[in-house]
């Protein structure tokens, strides 16, 4: 019954989405407030029904109802509860249901908190949101229904792919989807603005918090996914330039650009047309990502078993939405009025530069991701584009961007003083050069690019600190005054500083990890000792253990440094009986921001075991950076001026208004 109810709720949600797609538009044409208000209740009801449908699927998974094909294929009665729940989106059908649920959630949020939006704008936004939702409801109902029954229910399920049986699955996909799908809001606002032919600074003030929210989730989602891959896949890599990772990086790059350009639009009412285009592109890239992952045109860790009809369906959705929105853009963009003027050297100019480099970098990632597909279709030749390509294209484009980062916040709006900014950044520059010299003198081995890269990262971090110091007037006024001024700075200024510093911190992590990573690969017998980066790791022994739905072999390593015992590390190899497959559970030992990493290979005939031991210096900075960026985003979001929605008219005035 639960499966049928879930299915029925989804069909009802589709019905509601269709109503929400058209009725508000008709209302807007006729200037009928009642019809326009249908959007609000339809969006909320839609959220309710999709939510019910999602809860139904979760219930089925938790209850291990193997008469439902989706549960049978991805669950097992012995699986721990947490993986029964997360397994809901560890497969194609369930993850699409999560996708539409989050889409409905965002629609519901706009409906619930958008009471201060102009009525017709809200009606248009929610209608566009419903177009996207309808397309995806149809997709789920026609090609990937998670509620299908099996006529002869089996007794036991086939279990979830062991690689996915990890806490990472609980966090990574929902975060990523909150980011991906969150950009649908800025897309809907952009389309609504094009339909209405009206866009102003207030529009940007509404769009920016939503974009910022989506961006925060996407940042955390990508970082989380990267850390998950790092500890789960067992060979210590944290970014593979895998097409699916690129699919999440592209919306992030475009979204970051959008975040910055929306700032220009809000503050200076300029760059309107470009902001609209970026909103469309960002969500289009999210859709493209969904297509790449869900259609099966690419094989990767992320591609669940897929089926060609789904690919065609999503491609169709992709073409309609991207093609449709870009055509609308071409037709209507010229009707939007040009905004404020600014000199090339100004805050606006710096933000344009930021956008230029971010979108160009995004374009190179797009080329690298789609080129193999295109070449295969055209010539049948199979190639792979890997890390070397992206290092040669993406890397060089990020260098000028990073150099420009500290200058941006120092320039004034309209007309900036580049020389003055450079003077204020002199200290940061000198320290960066010192860092360069130090790294050069101390570093043994590794790429010659490491030292300049670290100097660049130092410059970015200190540049963001300098901005705060300058604004607070530290060293110029008495400390107490400066501290008070610092407290009084807008939270968005702090947010900017944190986010920019996060960029530099992540860069230091990346450079250190790739340059001074040391590793030991070999076979070890009990009581053998491996030496890596000054640590001694003694293999204590091998043990067997029975888990809930797997057996595991644990190797115990006693870690010591200079004769002093530090810790015990227990990497393991799990074999899952139901799927007949195994996973490697790496063991991590964190020392400051550095980590020791052990993963196991096969046991040889003589009872020795193959091991891979890495020492990864400052590797954690790679993820602390994005966390700091996201924290900066949260600070900025909590800024009074930017809290969701525009400034409200005074309460008293509102009360005097007659009820609508």
């Amino acid at each position: 019954m639960i499966a049928e109810s879930g299915h029925y709720a989804l069909v009802l949600a589709l019905g509601l989405a269709l109503i929400q797609s058209f009725v508000p538009l008709i209302g807007a044409r006729l200037r009928d407030a009642a019809l326009m208000n249908v959007a609000r209740s339809a969006a909320l009801a839609q959220l309710l029904f999709v939510g019910a449908s999602f809860v139904a699927l979760v219930t089925l998974h938790v209850a291990s109802d193997f008469s439902v094909a989706n549960v049978y294929e991805n669950s097992h009665s012995m699986k721990p509860l947490i993986y029964k729940i997360t397994g809901v989106w560890g497969n194609h059908e369930g993850s699409m249901l999560l996708w539409v649920s989050i889409l409905a959630l965002f629609g519901g949020l706009v409906a619930a908190f958008g009471s201060n939006l102009p009525l017709s704008l809200r009606a248009h936004v929610l209608a566009v949101q419903a177009w996207v939702a309808s397309a995806f409801y149809l997709f789920i109902l026609i090609t990937s229904n998670p509620f299908l029954r099996i006529t002869n229910p089996p007794i036991e399920g086939r279990d979830l792919n062991p690689v996915l049986q990890d806490i990472g699955l609980a966090v990574h996909p929902p975060m990523l989807y909150l980011g991906y799908v969150g950009f649908s809001i800025s897309f809907s606002f952009a389309i609504a603005a094009l339909i209405e032919g009206r866009i102003d600074a207030a529009w940007a003030r509404w769009v920016r918090p939503w974009t910022l929210m989506a961006w925060i989730f996407l940042t955390l989602g990508i970082a989380m996914g990267s850390y998950w891959a790092y500890y789960e896949l067992g060979w210590g890599g944290w970014w593979f330039w895998d097409p699916v990772e690129n699919a999440s990086l592209m919306p992030w790059l475009a979204g970051t650009a959008l975040l910055h350009t929306a700032l220009v639009m809000e503050k200076r009412n300029a760059l309107k047309v470009w902001t609209i285009l970026l909103s469309i592109l960002t969500f289009s890239l999210s859709l493209l990502g969904t297509f790449l992952v869900r259609s099966g045109v690419l094989t990767s860790v992320h591609a669940f078993a897929s089926d060609p009809t789904r690919g065609v369906f999503i491609l169709l959705i992709l073409c309609i939405f991207i093609g449709g929105s870009l055509s609308l853009y071409v037709a209507r963009a010229s009707s939007l009025k040009q905004g404020g003027l600014f000199a090339p050297i100004s805050r606006e100019g710096a933000l344009v530069l930021n956008n230029l480099f971010l979108t160009t970098a995004c374009a190179t990632v797009l080329v690298g991701t789609l080129y193999p597909l295109g070449l295969e279709v055209l010539t049948g030749e199979k190639i792979s584009v890997g890390a070397p390509f992206f290092n040669l294209t993406f890397g060089p484009l990020f260098v000028p961007l990073l150099i420009a980062v500290p200058f941006g916040p120092m320039l004034a709006w309209k007309r900036g003083d580049l020389l003055g900014a450079a003077q204020r950044l002199l200290a940061a520059g000198i320290v960066a050069l010192l860092a360069l010299a130090l790294v050069w003198a101390w570093a043994r081995g590794g790429s010659a690019l490491a030292a300049p890269a670290i100097a660049l990262a130092t410059f970015v971090i200190l540049g963001s600190v300098t901005d705060l110091v300058e604004r607070a007037g530290l060293f110029r006024v008495p400390f107490a005054t400066a501290a008070q001024r610092a407290r009084g700075l807008p939270r968005s200024a702090w947010g900017t500083a944190f986010a920019h510093a996060g960029l530099g911190i992540a860069l230091i992590g990346i450079v250190c990890e790739t340059t001074w990573n040391s590793e030991y690969i070999g076979t070890m017998k009990p009581d053998d000792v491996a030496r890596v980066a000054g640590y001694e790791l003694k293999l204590g022994g091998l043990f067997q253990r029975q888990g809930p739905n797997f057996r595991e072999m644990i190797a115990q390593f006693d870690v010591s440094r200079d004769g002093e015992a530090l810790s015990v590390m227990t990497p393991s190899k799990r074999s899952f009986t139901t799927r007949g497959s195994s996973t490697t559970e790496a063991a991590l030992l964190t020392r400051g921001a550095s980590q020791l990493y052990i993963s196991l290979g096969d046991v040889t005939a003589e009872g020795a075991i193959a091991v891979r031991i890495y020492h990864k210096p400052l590797v954690l900075l790679i993820w602390w950076g994005p966390v700091l960026m996201a924290f900066g985003g949260v600070l900025s979001l909590s800024d009074r001026r930017l809290r969701v929605g525009a400034p409200k008219p005074a309460r008293a005035q509102q009360r005097l208004q007659p009820a609508e």
């Binding site: 078993a305 080129y371 390509f389 497959s581």
Partner: protein
């Protein structure tokens, strides 16, 4: 500056960055992409030693030999040709004889493929797409390559074999 001059500055800057990006992309596409080959294609095309490519096929049953200190050798076959592969390191969890594999590396002077990276399928139903396509093209595809263990074939979806 007039409005027009300002606009020209921005457009000029954009074009410069785009040109830079295009140059970087073209340069990288020339040097850093890796082609995919099967043993048959390697034999036909006389691939130069030292040129990196991805080799895909099935691990020849009975060919896997483990040497000292994690050195392994095995043969990759595609039905009509075989190529010896040497690798040093830990093989992926799902590496099995008779199953699909993709190895990245280059031929040495003796015609042995020195792999520095070996990728195996991700789960028991997955055959690397490149390998499956190549085998199908040569008519060596057998339906059971991608099939699941007998017990679950009834309801299992046959995607492993189709893709």
């Amino acid at each position: 500056m007039t409005r027009k001059q300002r606009r020209m500055t921005i457009i000029g800057g954009s074009l410069a960055v785009l040109a830079l990006a295009a140059a970087l992309v073209l340069n990288a596409l020339r040097d850093s992409i890796v082609f995919f080959s099967t043993p048959t294609m390697v034999a036909e095309k006389h691939v130069q030693p030292g040129k990196r490519f991805r080799l895909g096929g099935l691990v020849q049953p009975g060919s896997l030999q483990r040497g000292d200190n994690l050195a392994v050798t095995f043969e990759v076959a595609d039905g009509s040709a075989k190529l010896p592969v040497a690798y040093k390191g830990i093989l992926p969890d799902l590496f099995r004889e008779g199953q699909g594999v993709v190895a990245e590396g280059a031929l040495d002077a003796n015609g042995v493929f020195k792999a520095d990276n070996v990728l195996a399928k991700h789960d028991e139903t997955y055959m690397p797409k490149d390998v499956a396509d190549a085998l199908k093209k040569q008519g060596h595809w057998k339906d059971d390559y991608g099939a699941k263990p007998a017990a679950t074939t009834a309801q299992g979806n046959p995607q492993g074999a189709v893709r």
